[in-house]
């Protein structure tokens, strides 16, 4: 199987702190890949590098055959992303925001309008498309962030805590959206603390701590190796061993 995302020896330092330490990872095309780790493990920093929000100190990253560091704009066309707690311009409406982002991505008006309606409905904002975002709750902004990630129908989705701020019903709805997307063959790179969520959506997993990958394989192989199907137990064991 070819890789949708290839990360090689990626390092990012902030002064004395090494947030990402020589990280190497391959995400197979069409997989739902979980990126699991404790706070400060380097998950968000890796996602920010992949989305060109920050520059790495060294290393390589590719989406398919596109160098994400050398051709960031070309690479960004291949991905849709939800990074950190999403914020939008409060005076714009969701429709206007998606129109703006669609234009920046070079989409034509018809496609923007069609996809805007489709994805706003999908994330449950169909009736809010013309309301100012300034009046939205955290959860509604998160739904909009997911809609903007889907807008241009990218083959790869990079999601950092995508259900953050959603109520339990919203979480279920959005997880179902992601499950459907994996069935459509999209590659999902999914960072989360919620082990239940990862078990439900993902088929492949990498456990990361102190900026390094501790383990990376399919869920099936992972459970075989640790002789248990309890992901939480596997995760805690891996992290504890890493601390020792």
């Amino acid at each position: 199987m070819s890789n949708a995302i290839s990360i090689k020896c990626l390092t990012k330092t902030f002064g004395d702190i090494t947030a990402v330490d020589n990280l190497t990872l391959d995400v197979p095309k069409g997989s739902a890949f979980a990126f699991l780790g404790p706070n400060g493990a380097g998950k968000s920093t890796t996602l920010k590098i992949l989305t060109s929000l920050i520059k790495p100190t060294s290393g390589e990253a590719h989406f398919f055959n596109i160098d994400a560091l050398e051709e960031p704009h070309e690479a960004l066309l291949q991905i849709g992303a939800v990074v950190e707690s999403a914020e939008f311009y409060p005076s714009l409406t969701p429709s206007e925001t998606l129109d703006y982002f669609g234009r920046l991505r070079g989409m034509n008006s018809d496609k923007i309008s069609r996809n805007s309606n489709k994805f706003l409905k999908l994330v449950g904002l169909g009736n809010w498309s013309d309301k100012k975002i300034g009046t939205f709750s955290r959860g509604m902004k998160q739904r909009l962030a997911i809609a903007q990630a889907l807008l241009h129908e990218p083959p790869i989705l990079l999601l950092d805590e995508p259900t953050f701020g959603l109520d339990p019903r919203g979480m279920v709805e959005i997880r179902n959206v992601f499950k459907d997307l994996t069935k459509e063959g999209k590659t999902i790179f999914f960072s989360s603390h919620l082990i239940g969520e990862i078990e439900e959506i993902c088929d492949t997993l990498a456990i990361i701590d102190k900026g390094q990958v501790l383990f990376s394989d399919t869920m099936k192989n992972l459970m075989k190796e640790f002789k248990t199907d309890d992901l939480e137990e596997i995760y805690l064991k891996t992290i504890t061993e890493s601390v020792r």
Binding site: S52, L53, I54, K55, P72, E74, S91, L104
Partner: protein, 282 residues
Amino acid sequence: MKRTKINRTKQFQDVIKFELIKFLRSRKIRAALILTAIVPLLIYLLTNFLLDSFISQIYSDSGIVNDYQIFVNFILTLSLVNVIMFGGDSLTNDFENKTGYTLFINPISRTSFLFGKFVAASIAIISFNILFYVLASIFSYAKHSAIPENALLSLVFASLFSIGLLSTSFALSSLFKRSNMSNIAFIFLWFIVVGLVEYFLVLAEIKPWWSLTYAAGIIIYIFEVPYPKDSVIDIPSLLIPGQSQTIVNLIPEVNLSIGVFLMYIIVGLMISVLFYKRKQLN
């Protein structure tokens, strides 16, 4: 893999469009509108009804040109206020308010984005300059049944001055992470540093020709025909009634001042692009 060509000119136009929409829906547009409308009205009322005798003491000829110059004097302050409102946070707010996390994951060129924001802020600021001159002209017409020659030229100079200020504001904004810091630096630079340097240079009878605020003198002097030359003038002392005080009036040259405006616009934008492209969302 299908490769898409992004049209940077189109991106630039889209940024202008959405920046203007944001301005039109913001509170600052209402604040700028009130300020621009109220100040000429206040100047008109004060100079014609309340301070008429004082004004006539300072200006030997309280004709159309002097009356209009009293209005136009305020355009310098108005420009500073409008630049802070429309440009002060332009390059910091996406980092400060975290909107950059959804914006910069799009394949947008930072240069197109910066220029789009700059043009949108320039349009907003120039629109208020125009409104100010229209109101000043209405009040001038109400009193003198005429508008002074060169009012349009003065507006062009005022707009170049405002864009020069905006460019310095963008340059400072590109250096800081927070709008408060860049606005404080902007105010400190123009009101304190440049103000003091200019003051002492003029006292020493040295022309601070390189200063944007000194060059802005052409916005006011352009009404005088012929264009004035450096002079020493006596005005009534504000401290000792009945006495006069001598001041040296160093007049900025028109062509040089236009060059200074353009230099600030170009250098400010170059600094902005250089630093803005390096800004990261840590």
